[in-house]
Symmetry: C2
Subunit: 276 residues, 2 copies
């Protein structure tokens, strides 16, 4: 999917909502468990209920991988079921030396036909650049995540006199010089507005994938204040708060209501900044 197509979709749906398909057999409603493929049937119900209100789906690969080959079948069926005009992200956080990264890229871009895959930066340019060589595909690199461990290394101070203060800033700014950098997006957690501002100042035009809204406590209003650019430039991910609503008689309806509530807040933010 091109940048233009993604932006068009955001304008059309008045939404920059990404729904995380962290589909956990221990958490999905019991009636899905009797089907032959509970993961896929659950995802199908979520997609049917929410496709009009979100612009991206993000399966968390760990939840599929842990079920063995059958989990990957469920993943494949899920990606194929997602309407073509919706952006698809494999949340896989892959990264290895050149030739191996090319195989990981082929896995998610060709074998499973995702639009994007999340990647880890630690091994440097030759572990990420192979993901940037696919036309119309995207690598979403970890910059500053929303978990407590983000403080360990991502927020490592750099030497005085460096143009940047923290490791995560160095990583974003270095990556912008790599071949294919126009196909990069960045993961930035929503838990602190200043973190989003930190990355946005360096990567002015790039899209940011922002987890941490909802169950993790981040504020949408703050994310928009610090992260939105003239093209929106944000994909805000919500997983648990949408896909695991309070148990009730109509699962699809409950999920839809959650997604609609987020979409309305997002429409208001897009209007506030003059994008709509």
């Amino acid at each position: 999917m091109t940048r233009h197509e993604l932006i068009e979709q955001i304008r059309k749906k008045k939404s920059f909502l990404c729904i995380g398909l962290d589909t956990d057999l221990k958490k999905i409603p019991a009636h899905f468990l009797s089907s032959d493929d509970p993961l896929f049937e659950f995802n199908k119900a979520v997609i049917d209920a929410t496709a009009d209100y979100c612009v991206a789906y993000k399966p968390n690969i760990a939840f599929y991988e842990c079920l063995g080959p059958k989990g990957w079948e469920s993943l494949k069926k899920t990606v194929e079921y997602i309407p073509r005009d919706i952006f698809t992200i494999a949340d896989a956080k892959r990264g290895d030396i050149g030739n191996t990264s090319t195989y990981y890229a082929k896995t998610f871009f060709e074998t499973y036909a995702f639009d994007a895959v999340t990647v880890a930066p630690y091994m440097g340019h030759d572990s990420v650049v192979p993901f940037l060589e696919f036309e119309g595909k995207w690598a979403i690199m970890l910059a500053l995540t929303s978990n407590p461990g983000a403080m360990d290394f991502q927020m490592q101070r750099l030497p005085d006199g460096d143009e940047h203060k923290f490791m995560c800033e160095r990583i974003v700014s270095t990556s912008l010089k790599w071949k294919g950098a126009e196909r990069l997006m960045f993961v930035v957690g929503a838990t602190r507005g200043e973190d989003i501002e930190r990355v946005r100042k360096i990567a002015k035009d790039h899209f940011l994938l922002v987890p941490g809204i909802g169950a993790q406590g981040g504020s949408l209003e703050e994310v928009c204040r610090y992260g939105m650019n003239a093209d929106c430039g944000l994909l805000v991910n919500v997983s648990r708060d949408i896909i695991y609503p309070e148990p009730g008689p109509d699962f699809g309806q409950a999920v839809r209501e959650k997604a609609v509530a987020y979409q309305r807040q997002m429409a208001a933010e897009l209007k506030k900044t003059g994008i709509l």
Copy 2:
């Protein structure tokens, strides 16, 4: 596998060779391609030829993953075929927030029954500690890799006055304070002896997994000089140079000869340092 069992195996076989099963359909001899499961048949031939001379096998997960669910079937058959007394490493470089890392750990330790998995450190303690909660299992964390991109962030200078000079040293030393740190090993590339010394000075007792010998040009003698400790403390990985020998009439024999040559050098190193 326990540390004691691993060390016993090293003494018995006079070897600390790990063979990388980077099984690439584009590189394996043509006669394997006609079988129903070329990846497994190739791996089986390599294992049959080398099990007496190595102490570990390390499938590179990208090569299996890119083939879809079928690739994971080949992986499962491979792990089950490896003799129980040989250490098995899933080279997967995973890492995500807590709950997700637990699923990745379960994938490799339970669904596929590996002894160890390689993990990426960038997301910090709560992305790695979930891998350290499994009795008799190991997380092998990236410290200083052998690719050119290792210079980008792993060798980032820390502020003056810090007890460490480089990012990779901070990562190793911080990780040694985590709960379950006795189940950590570290990946250190073989291309520069000083890199191995750098990590060894901080992690004195831990095993190091060292890629970069053979096709990538590292020297075994140098690796041993800087990295060996009283329990050996090294697993030296060779992939391409063993599993892709010059084409010839007897694939198994050619692979075995390569493995034997490495094993002999390793036996000599173990004798030199008084371990044998």
